[in-house]
Symmetry: C2
Subunit: 492 residues, 2 copies
């Protein structure tokens, strides 16, 4: 067992350095002076080089080889599984390819931002072609004869496959399109909130609801950033939100979303600190936590009732006539081009579109030059509206410019997992409805911590959700929840 001991000791330092790299990312988005970007890129580059050297260190390969066939307990086996996966991914990529990917994608993000601002797809096209070419190369190198898209997906969602997700999405899509059409054809049309809600009040209320959902301030903090995000793990997990004085829901529900990510990381068994098990196990499971806090709990009728009253106290107005109108506003279904602004009914349709297109791109069935047309055709079919400009269509998301192929489907998988967990949670915690009506969800966090969060990376994602719910995860609970909730809200 010396090999295991040495491997874990080595890995602890790697994990610590990875946390430092994450902290630099947080600093960049929240605190960094604006003239420091160039220097910061060098700092991050030096740290990433050091991390890459550690991940591909031949000693890791030797320790892993020495552990082949050793009898290990569950925790040790899971630790080794994570380390082996990371080491294999890192060593399968030629150094030249890693370097070229890093160089191209770091430049691509700026070009994508310019193209989006100018609604100019052609400006981005040469870069996108290059990114797609490199990602195909990377996928082939990682797949070693297996499915290339699956090899990319595996980085975000171990155990998931493109074929499995495609089958699930094929089952989901008709029901979502049908629900969307039903709701959009309804007579009712809830109004957005009206009024001005000053920044200090929004941030104060954001902190209050974060506390009510079990976010631990001893191990976290809340700041503002352009795009909300969660950073860190273990005993230092920071979240951000943004403030729009005409739309307090943006701040509050962004906060609840990040509180979901944050409590997950905070809730992992402290024994796993600074080991591979000390992080959320996958993007899909992470998103299940953020979405259940934001949607199934935060946008519930019970919690909205409390929030309506509390906003009246904080701001002197809640922006809606009564609690029922407030609840309808919070859950307003509206046509829109932008994924990040989508309601619960539309959201997964956005993802499926991206999933199908990126899978074809990586498989070589679609070329970058044909992407815009494919996007626009599919969007009109699923959303009933024609895309008016590229910034509302193919150029809207940063993901592909930075090489994140295989990431999008984990958002929907998170929603599906959230649907399953919500069913099990409601059965397990009968007092939850009353808690939410008092503006509290610590009881939900306690159940999620026990069943999901504390395990960190111990189980594979689907196994983890099955253990938590008592049934294998599937799309049914999410679709039933959406049908019931929005059918009632819109009387359809």
């Amino acid at each position: 067992m010396t090999a295991y001991h040495d491997l874990i000791a080595f890995q602890r330092e790697t994990e610590a350095l990875a946390l430092v790299a994450g902290r630099l990312g947080w600093d960049q988005e929240t605190m960094m002076p604006r003239g420091a970007a160039h220097q910061r890129a060098e700092e991050i580059g030096a740290l990433e080089t050091a991390l890459h050297r550690r991940r591909t260190d031949p000693r890791v390969g030797e320790w892993l080889a020495a552990l082949e066939g050793e009898a290990l307990d569950d925790v040790a086996r899971a630790q080794v599984r994570h380390i082996r996966r990371g080491h294999e991914r890192a060593t399968r990529l030629p150094d030249t390819l890693s370097a070229e990917l890093a160089r191209v994608t770091s430049r691509a993000q700026g070009i994508w931002a310019e193209a989006r601002a100018a609604d100019d797809v052609a400006h981005f096209m040469p870069t996108l072609r290059e990114v797609v070419r490199l990602k195909r190369e990377e996928a082939a190198a990682l797949a070693q004869g297996g499915d290339p898209y699956d090899a990319l997906l595996d980085d975000y969602e171990p155990g998931a496959t493109g074929a499995g997700l495609a089958a699930m999405f094929d089952r989901m899509r008709p029901r979502l399109v049908e629900l969307r059409e039903r709701v959009m054809g309804a007579q009712r049309a809830p109004a957005p909130l009206m009024g001005r809600f000053e920044t200090e009040g929004q941030m104060g209320l954001a902190r209050e609801i974060a506390s009510h959902f079990g976010y631990d301030w001893r191990h976290g903090r809340l700041d503002r950033s352009v795009h909300p995000f969660t950073s860190g793990s273990g005993t230092d997990v920071r979240i951000t939100t943004r403030v729009d004085e005409s739309d307090p829901l943006n701040c509050l529900y962004s906060t609840l979303h990040e509180v979901g990510h944050g409590t997950y990381e905070q809730g992992i068994d402290p024994a796993y600190l600074l080991t591979p098990l000390g992080n959320g196990v996958s993007m899909g499971v992470h998103e299940s936590q953020s979405r259940i806090y934001e949607n199934q709990l935060g946008r519930s009728r019970a919690f909205c009732g409390w929030l309506f009253g509390r906003m009246g106290e904080v701001f002197g107005l809640a922006g809606a006539a009564d609690a029922e109108a407030f609840y309808a506003s919070v859950n307003r279904v509206h046509s829109g081009y932008i994924r990040t602004e989508a309601d619960e009914v539309h959201y997964n349709l956005h993802i499926m579109l991206r999933f199908d297109l990126e899978r074809e791109l990586i498989a070589g069935l679609l070329e970058a030059d044909d992407l815009e047309e494919a996007w626009n055709t599919r969007f009109e079919a699923d959303f009933g509206v024609a895309v008016d400009k590229p910034s509302n269509g193919v150029l809207q998301d940063v993901h592909w410019s930075v090489g994140l192929f295989g990431y999008f489907p984990t958002y929907s998988l998170g929603n599906v997992y959230a649907g399953c967990l919500h069913t099990a949670l409601r059965a397990a915690v009968p007092t939850l409805e009353d808690d939410l009506a008092r503006g509290h969800a610590e009881s939900a966090t306690a159940w999620l911590r026990e069943t999901v969060q504390r395990h960190g990376g111990l189980y594979q994602p689907a196994e983890l959700i099955e253990r938590a719910c008592g049934f294998a995860p599937h799309e049914g609970p999410l679709l039933d929840y959406l049908d019931t909730k929005f059918g009632a809200l819109y009387g359809v």
Copy 2:
């Protein structure tokens, strides 16, 4: 020249990682959630291990050897001098000694804090004995037959020697003791400021004067911390201050002090970014910048006149009857035990006491067990007051607990350098008095940037000051300035 190119490329990554380590330190004092300390220690430990490995990397020794006797330009020669110095210091220490020092001093800080809080020297004594023993060992290893104290000093002030400093202090001490007695015997006794000054106004005014002294917000920021400090170099140099609502001078002059450190780092030639020349050259030169901003400029009659008016506008009161009374309060000379609260007349007496004692400790002429008595005897001789309790005496400073022997004298050296620079600055910038009377000191910063700051680590400290002033640095200008200023203020 391949060796030089490779050495500098390697060093750039080391410098970048060192900046990251510094940023973690900043985060710890300003932003870190309070429950993250243990994890942070592991993060810093991993980064320091990586840095130590780079500093002792055998390739650095090989590159340096290959460069022996090569013809290098001034900049390259200075770069190599810094790298060689760092490499030699790192390789001369046995790994076991470095590790033991790190372990003992990190624990010692906590024990010192307990001892100070309880006024219990005995509680700290076993640890202090251990620290002194290890520092003597370190000094001997570094000195390689030379003077052990000089070897420690060299880490903070290259080129300075204990003997040289002792001679200078011996010339300074009688004049300072005499001035102190004269002032303390005067009839005049200015009052401290009276009133409450709310936090937001203090921070706003702190930002305003930082701007007026040339601090560059594009490459910096101001936050609050328990102890004010400056962190970073190049394009990301952050400063902190603290706020006491009954004493606005604490916040404002702490800010000006850190603005001095900060503008120094910000003012270094951008061509030196991420190289050894891209940092302030020594603690003494650093302190010269902080002290000239804080004292010679910030506590001048002209600037105090402006500040009196501005405080009236910001707070509705300035805490003194008129500008003259305000100026006297800002420069109030008062008996006190604590170095960090000392006025300009007392400050260097505090340093000399520490310098003499720590030099004897390292030389083996004084033992840790006899330190308290030596401190108390000396304090009464120089300050005319008996120490009432250890927290006001030998336990007041953190430095020795964390092994910072050789650091104290650089504070006084900074004051001496500030005195020299101030003389040259006044001669070079005749408009400065008018600028200060308008609350501005950008003209001083421009001169300091040109003569001192931009050079970074290019020249040795004393050489740098001599080039800036046109004369070799000595204590005369500082002592003359103090005599004139406080003689006039106290009519003695």
